[in-house]
């Protein structure tokens, strides 16, 4: 389900350092690191290593080769650290993020707040396809959704998980599936493993 006809669904590309950039910040969500992935990233980013900072969220510090390394606990810490660096980045700098979809958009949104433009940011989706689902009715978020229909964690309604995606919320739209005929709930399938 990574590809969809719905155009709001982002398309992600592998990370490639933009040599025109000044400083380079790589942010990686630890849980999305397959074996050997850090070594692979070190290789890819070798050309800009002297100007590279890497933030690892929730993973143990590994080998060198990723520039200056900083360990953080979670996406929330990354967001806080970016907010604190409000004046720390320039127009020529670049941001690269690897993670699950909610992680990618939490970081991208925080970066936009401190002035990063879309063309300064690359996002690479890795790890699970679990979705953050936004309830259209109570506006609550349900995390880690793997099924085509999910009970909203906020209001309990059964939501059909659509492909329509909001970058601002980092979430997919969930709309009550049995609003027209209460209780008529189609078969629930495991689709976002």
């Amino acid at each position: 389900m990574m590809h969809s006809d719905i155009k709001s669904r982002p398309v992600y590309q592998p990370l490639v350092p933009d040599l025109a950039g000044g400083r380079h910040l790589l942010v990686v969500e630890g849980e999305t690191l397959a074996a050997g992935r850090l070594e692979e990233l070190a290789g890819v980013f070798a050309p800009v290593q002297a100007r590279l900072h890497t933030w690892l969220a929730g993973a143990a510090a590994p080998l060198g080769g990723l520039g200056k390394l900083w360990q953080l606990e979670s996406a929330a810490d990354v967001v806080d650290a970016l907010a604190c660096a409000s004046r720390g980045y320039g127009v020529g700098d670049r941001l690269y993020v690897q993670g699950t979809e909610p992680f990618l958009w939490s970081v991208a949104t925080a970066a936009a707040v401190i002035g990063f433009g879309e063309k300064q940011v690359q996002l690479y989706h890795a790890g699970s396809l679990r979705r953050r689902v936004w309830c259209t009715h109570c506006h609550g978020m349900t995390e880690g959704v793997t099924t085509s229909i999910v009970a909203c964690g906020g209001c309990g309604r059964h939501l059909l998980v659509r492909d329509h995606f909001s970058r601002r919320l980092g979430a997919f739209m969930g709309v009550m599936v049995d609003a027209e005929a209460p209780g008529e709930i189609p078969a629930i399938e495991e689709v976002f493993a």
Partner: protein, 316 residues
């Protein structure tokens, strides 16, 4: 607030420096002008000896002004003739036809900081920028490169505005463009208006410093949809030959000849006026035909498209 053309009356003319003429324009009917914003330009029809020139000028009046618009025109000896007309022929009280204001150089309002670089007369769009930024309070800076003697020319529009720096061609007074661009925080947008050589130098420096092109804006005049070289078109079914003037569209000319052509948007979007092209090569300016359709050369949208060279034959 709708319309296509305006009648403007010249209310005042003043030579503010050698080769620089300030023109104040008001609505010819004594009414109000539409508001125009920072970066807006107005296209004036200037009746030269040989033909009518349509030149676009940045508005330097305060943003939103509805009593009068102001422009500053530099005399360009080698130009199309519009600036010569303004400097030599234009009289107070004269009425000019103008288009409604356009804006191809509006500031980006999501910017956290606005950085402007002007070369000479290229300062004109930034006079209205400064007024807007002073009102909105956004952080901004204007760097002007000009002759040392020209610094005071724009005082009436700049007086008291902070954030303006001056540079000229002497040791210790030149703008260090790479240093300036390297020092800008994320979220800065750069606006550029000056001679081609300066524009190119700044654009190259910005690219070298890693600026994304979305954050660099260079002023250019004129709408892609307006006029071009005159050409002829033969309407095969009607047996009529039309002359398409440089200031009119093919559709205008067809209508002038009394031939009925279906149309809707007149802006190259809706596809209603798509007409079979029997002979000739079109310069396609529409947003409707696909790349394949353009390559096939079998259709033309007469509301915006023209002849690339020579004569067109249409199935009309």
């Amino acid at each position: 607030m709708t319309g296509e053309t305006l009648k403007l009356k010249v209310a005042a003319l003043a030579d503010i420096a050698p080769g620089l003429r300030h023109v104040r324009l008001v609505a010819a009917d004594g009414g109000k002008l539409p508001p125009a914003a920072a970066g807006a330009h107005v296209q004036l029809a200037l009746a030269g000896a040989a033909r009518t020139y349509r030149n676009a000028y940045s508005l330097v009046s305060r943003p939103g002004a509805r009593d009068a618009w102001e422009i500053i025109v530099r005399r360009v000896p080698t130009s199309r003739g519009g600036s010569a007309y303004i400097h030599e022929c234009l009289q107070v009280g004269e009425v000019l036809e103008a288009g409604w204001p356009g804006n191809l150089f509006a500031p980006v309002r999501t910017a956290r900081r606005q950085l402007m670089i002007a070369g000479g007369i290229g300062i004109t769009p930034f006079l209205s920028y400064l007024a807007e930024f002073a009102f909105s309070g956004v952080e901004h800076a204007l760097h002007v490169c000009c002759r040392e003697s020209e610094q005071q020319v724009f005082d009436p529009w700049l007086a008291g505005r902070p954030g303006v720096s001056w540079y000229w061609d002497a040791d210790g007074h030149r703008l260090d463009i790479p240093a300036l661009l390297a020092a800008q925080p994320a979220g800065t947008h750069l606006y550029l208006c000056g001679p081609a050589a300066m524009n190119e130098e700044v654009l190259a420096a910005a690219a070298a410093a890693g600026w994304p092109d979305t954050h660099v804006h260079c002023e250019h005049f004129g709408s892609a949809l307006s006029g071009g070289e005159a050409f002829r078109a033969f309407l095969a079914r009607s047996g009529v030959e039309v002359e398409v003037g440089e200031d009119e569209s093919l559709l205008d000319a067809i209508e002038r000849a009394g031939v009925n052509a279906p149309c809707l948007c007149r802006g190259g979007a809706c596809g209603v006026c798509a007409t079979p092209l029997l002979e000739g090569e079109a310069e396609h300016r529409d947003h409707f035909l696909s790349a394949e359709e353009r390559a096939a050369g079998l259709l033309i949208m007469p509301c915006v498209s023209r002849a690339r060279a020579g004569r067109l034959v249409l199935d009309l």
